[in-house]
Amino acid sequence: MNAQREFFEPEIVAFCCHYCAYAAADMAGSMRLSYPTNVKIIKIPCSGKTDVLYLLKAFEAGADGVFVAG
């Protein structure tokens, strides 16, 4: 994912709360709003479900950045 490119585009993993951030992303979709394809969304039941292991696994799989939204 971290390939050499002319312009570095980070791969971002977003852990989104089912009840707010994920719903917002869903709403954005239904409103035909676009967001960058290099943001990969993972729905979690609550941002409180976030675990250090999830973050590490995302980095281990090659993510350049991880954020939690909730």
Partner: protein
């Protein structure tokens, strides 16, 4: 329970840097309770080591397994298949667990991933504090249930010493004076008479000073 702390990542990395395949072995009893060596901590350490290997361009495979207790053969034996697959095992158990794995697998390299601290209680979430030094000759009946061997920095049997200031130990204002605690508690219990007289020197032969301890219960031993 036994409590401990994981060694710094750099120290673990140094131990295993020349190995191609490593097993991180966790223990799901005491060290899981203090968040040092249970299944989750094994996952975190393994993940961190895999990333470090990748960043350093090292060809290294890190596998994980956690057993219920690393200090009992029945559970240690569950590691057999993975131990045979790897060059080295990093055990996140206490020192007893590390040695049990080493004893069970005489041809395997077993490295410690933890520094074992002692026997503690969980004072509050995230705080573990030593309560017992396993001296082998308990005197808590004479000290109101507070152990001066463990909690007095000098291990005094007849305290407090002159370093007790406002209920705190001279080593740190964060450390309560064990003898102040003992006095306060015995006062509440109406048992201050327990402090009359001088306690004679303790017999330390029951502690580790008398050599490695062993308890043998003939009634529980297998007859074979």
């Amino acid at each position: 329970m036994i409590f401990g702390e994981q060694k710094p990542l750099e120290e673990v990395e140094e131990m295993i840097k020349d190995c191609k395949k490593i097993l991180i072995a966790g223990c799901n009893t005491c060290v899981a309770i203090c968040f040092a060596g249970g299944e989750k901590e094994v996952g975190i350490l393994a993940s961190a080591l895999r990333m470090r290997a990748k960043m350093a361009n090292r060809e290294q495979e890190v596998i994980e397994q956690t057993v219920q207790r690393q200090c009992e053969w029945e559970f240690v034996d569950e590691l057999k298949e993975n131990v045979e697959k790897v060059e080295v095992v990093v055990s996140l158990a206490c020192g007893a667990g590390v040695q049990a794995v080493a004893e069970r697998f005489p041809r395997a390299f077993i490295f410690p991933g933890l520094n074992t601290t002692g026997i503690a209680i969980t004072e509050e979430a995230g705080v573990w504090a030593e309560r017992c030094l396993a001296c082998g000759n308990c005197i808590l009946d004479k000290t109101g249930g507070i152990c001066p061997i463990t909690r007095c920095s000098k291990g005094l049997l007849n305290g407090p010493c002159g370093g007790s200031q406002n209920g705190k130990c001279e080593i740190s204002p964060d450390v309560p004076c064990a003898w102040q605690l003992i006095y306060d508690r015995l006062k509440v219990l109406g048992k201050l008479d327990l402090l009359d007289g001088i306690k004679p020197p303790k017999d330390w032969s029951t502690s580790q000073s008398g050599g490695p301890r062993k308890v043998v219960r003939e009634d529980l031993k297998s007859s074979s």
